[in-house]
Amino acid sequence: MGTYNFQVTTQTLYVLGALLSAKHEISGADIARLTKLSSGTLYPILMRLEHHRWIESQWEVGDPHKLGRPRRRLYQITAIGARSARKEFKQIKTAIGGLAWDAS
């Protein structure tokens, strides 16, 4: 895996994959549902990715009083994040391809 200021773990890749595959902005609850990660794992990853500008987030449009519930924070992947994530996936694919080649 590439060298960044933070460690790109398998869980981080799950999160990036979920964000890449989403057609629109998704909330933390949606990401948790898609990746099946616990909140204790998911939120530190989201914080780290946001800190390094791989993802960005914004509040759901609407007044919480009118919505009748707390607003959701919606996440989407940035151009840098998408590029880096694709690079990571490509490296993994290459590594797995190499392993498959070795096995045969």
Partner: protein, 215 residues
């Protein structure tokens, strides 16, 4: 009857506990939010409450809240680690990089100076056929180095009271002055430095000699 009552009581207790669980989950979330760095608290309070709201089931909410607490603890640790790393690479490493060589050099100089056991012969060039030789023990390192680098040192420079070798070894200039004062000089004398004996510390040298004698 007793069984019915106990079942009823258990049912009531379970209902009560299940009713309290969302409240407990919310309390845990608040505690977790408070554990976060100040800049993140407001945002994550709303975000996590929103996430709790989206999850069905009291027990799931409790589990989710515990996850938030764990996330807060991890974030806190990450922050501490970042602060530690920043402090380490920003302050400690440059400080050590600067100070260690300086400290090493200073301690080496101090150790060499503390020996004060350098033996050297100073040849006083009288400008005549008869040069005079003074053998001085316990020359300070600075003077030994200086004399080695500049072979002709004017005695006037050693006579000056502000001269730093006089501060290091005040008796030296007095000693030379007294020695020269007893002689009639025809020209300005110069000091020539010639190390006849080993520049090693006297104590070490004597110890070695002593040891060989014992054999």
């Amino acid at each position: 009857m007793g069984r019915f009552l106990s079942n009823l009581l258990a049912e009531l207790c379970a209902g009560e506990v299940m009713a309290w669980l969302p409240w407990i989950a919310l309390r845990i979330t608040r505690v977790a939010v408070r554990a976060l760095p100040k800049a993140h608290r407001e945002r994550y309070e709303e975000e996590w409450r929103g996430h709790l709201n989206e999850v069905p089931g009291a027990l799931t909410k409790l589990g989710l809240a515990c996850g938030f607490a764990w996330a807060a603890v991890k974030t806190r640790f990450d922050q501490v680690r970042v602060a530690e790393i920043t402090f380490y690479y920003g302050v400690i490493v440059p400080f050590l990089a600067l100070m260690l060589p300086m400290m090493g050099f200073m301690s080496a100089v101090w150790a060499l100076r503390a020996r004060r056991g350098y033996v050297a012969s100073l040849l006083v060039d009288m400008g005549s056929s008869r040069d005079l030789q003074i053998t001085i023990d316990r020359i300070p390192l600075g003077l030994a180095l200086h004399l080695a680098l500049s072979p002709h040192v004017s005695l006037e420079s050693l006579d000056r009271s502000s001269y730093h070798y006089s501060i290091w070894c005040p008796s030296l200039s007095v000693e030379i002055e007294e020695f020269i004062g007893t002689r009639v000089l025809h020209s300005d004398p110069f000091l020539r430095f010639g190390m006849k004996k080993s520049p090693l510390p006297l104590g070490w040298r004597n110890a070695k000699v002593g040891a060989s004698r014992h054999k």
